[in-house]
């Protein structure tokens, strides 16, 4: 099992969620984050003074998937989140030692 963590542009969330559901993902967890990367922040003006906003709003998606589904899920995220513009985001994959469904105490694949 793997945990896929994707940092994407906020407006792609709904599309990514739909695409993931399409390939068989049944659950995911989302949080609001701020990203710093090649896509530099922008210069803002507040009351006549310029300043740089380093962090841009991003959304983080965490999806625990079975090994078999991992590549499909990664591809699905890439397909749905890609705009081709800088700042589209990253996907990180880490190994999952275990998963538990709290309600039923199922573990492993069955818990996803």
């Amino acid at each position: 099992m793997n945990m896929i963590t994707a940092i994407i542009k906020p407006f792609q969330l709904e599309h990514v969620r739909e695409t993931l559901t399409g390939v068989g993902v049944e659950g995911l967890t989302v949080s609001d984050v701020k990203g710093y990367g090649r896509q530099k922040g922008h210069t803002e003006i507040y009351r006549g003074a310029e300043y740089v906003i380093n962090f841009l709003p991003k959304v983080k998606i965490e999806v625990a998937v079975d090994d078999a589904l991992t590549d499909k899920a990664v591809d699905a995220i890439v397909a749905a989140a890609q705009t081709g513009q800088i700042g589209d985001g990253k996907i990180f994959v880490t190994e999952l030692k275990n998963a538990v469904r709290i309600r039923t105490k199922e573990t492993g694949k069955d818990a996803l």
Binding site: E44, Y46, R47, G48, A49, Y51
Partner: protein, 435 residues
């Protein structure tokens, strides 16, 4: 009142009583009716103007709550309700007499708590004495409100409130006595209809002095000359505050006609309403256009400041300008805001809400502009007045600020400032669920 019902039978109104009981009343003549109606109208002007200006306390509170960061919002609310309360009491304990009793062309009135005619008694003069006190008191409170915005986010609660007590009990009343109390500047022919200088510049000088002595908020001005804006937490609250202040200004300027009892005065108050409004409109539009032209973005906080600068500008003379002049006078206020806000940052003077351009700079401009439309005014006298108020307020405020600094300290510690005054001094976060 004994109960609310009897009155509808017509017995409780003094007017009616007077008719029923000719013994205690003077004869009812056209003149006496005219005089008494004028008395009530004038009193009404003060009370209505007064409650409108009182509501400006809410306007300042919202403007400032919107323009400070969320970690200092509770404190800003607390300071605003606290300062209004202190002003309301100090102006009774000391202020009013210092400002209006026995100034006689001089520099100060007398030291005494003020008192009013007893309940149920007829008042001498052309308006109720108490209504005038109420109206003057809310002006005094406004002066204090101006200071709180500039020194926000870093000044400790109690030293600030002590400063307010001195400002509203001594500094403002003494300054006010020079002109409105018929003191020396009034004798010279200095003009300030509703307080561009007496209220707004006095408040502005006190704020500026405080800002310099206090220093800037940590993190605002980097060592390298780089400056980091610390954007306000809620633009809609700042907008609401501005609209409330705009509303209150009809009372501020309109009430300063001081009379409403006849055709001429009522018509003049109407003119004042119009000019006040047009000046604010000019301030908004000009600041918006300038922001677009210079920065390509129309910063809403500058438009809000523009409105207020327009209002402050017209306050020294809201009656004599014709519409075009009113718009122009207000528009210059808008220009001032757009250029003075960044200028202060260059000077590393940290004015959290823009009170210095709005109240001080536009107040000076408005005062100097009086002779443009009022032939009774003289540029020289206006300059003398502005200078005298600057000198007095800066010195008096600086003394108080330094004494406070030396004794109890005025500035929150670095840790407290970083954490926010709300957590440490107030103990209550403004938005506990969103932090």
């Amino acid at each position: 009142m004994s109960n609310r019902l009897l009155l509808s039978a017509g017995l409780a109104s003094g007017a009616v009583l007077a008719m029923a009981l000719p013994a205690h009343a003077q004869e009812v003549t056209a003149e006496s009716v005219k005089t008494e109606a004028a008395f009530v109208f004038n009193t009404l002007l003060f009370l209505m103007g007064g409650f409108l200006v009182m509501f400006m306390a809410a306007g300042f509170a919202m403007l400032e709550a919107g323009l400070v960061r969320s970690k200092n919002v509770s404190m800003q609310c607390l300071k605003n309700i606290g300062l209004y309360s202190i002003a309301g009491i100090m102006y009774w304990v000391l202020g009013y007499s210092l400002m209006y009793s026995g100034v006689d062309g001089g520099f100060i009135g007398s030291f005494a708590a003020y008192s009013w005619p007893a309940a149920g008694s007829a008042n001498e003069g052309s308006y109720s004495v108490g209504s005038d006190w109420f109206f003057q008191m809310v002006f005094c409170a406004t002066t204090a409100s101006i200071v709180s915005g500039t020194v926000a986010e870093r000044i400790k609660l109690w030293p600030f409130l002590i400063f307010v007590a001195v400002l509203t009990g001594l500094i403002y009343p003494i300054a006010g006595s020079w002109k409105w109390g018929a003191g020396w500047l009034d004798g010279m022919g200095f003009l300030d209809f509703a307080g561009s200088t007496l209220v707004h510049s006095v408040g502005g000088w006190a704020a500026l002095t405080g800002a310099i002595i206090l220093g800037a908020r940590k993190g605002k001005y980097g060592a390298d000359g780089k400056m980091t804006p610390l954007p306000g937490s809620s633009i809609p609250l700042a907008t609401l505050g501005t609209f409330i202040l705009w509303l209150g200004w009809f009372g501020f300027n309109g009430g300063s006609q001081l009379a409403f009892g006849d055709n001429i005065n009522a018509s003049d108050v109407s003119r004042i309403f119009i000019n006040t409004n047009l000046a604010a409109c000019g301030g908004v539009i000009v600041s918006m256009l300038l922001m677009q032209a210079i920065y390509k973005k129309v910063d809403v906080t500058m438009a809000l400041n523009g409105a207020l600068a327009g209002l402050v500008s017209i306050t020294a003379e809201p009656l004599t300008p014709d519409p075009l002049m009113a718009i122009l006078i207000g528009s210059v206020g808008g220009v001032i805001v757009v250029f003075v806000v960044p200028l202060l940052d260059k000077l590393k003077i940290d004015d959290v809400v823009g009170a210095i351009p709005v109240h001080l700079m536009a107040g000076i401009w408005g005062t100097l502009a009086v002779p443009l439309t009022n032939s009774d005014g003289s540029f020289l006298t206006q300059i003398i007045g502005v200078t005298a108020y600057a000198a007095f307020t800066i010195v008096a405020s600086a003394i108080v600020w330094f004494v406070l600094k030396a004794t109890m300290g005025i500035r929150a510690s670095e840790d407290v400032e970083a954490l926010g005054l709300d957590k440490v001094e107030v103990g209550v976060e403004a938005y506990p669920e969103f932090a």
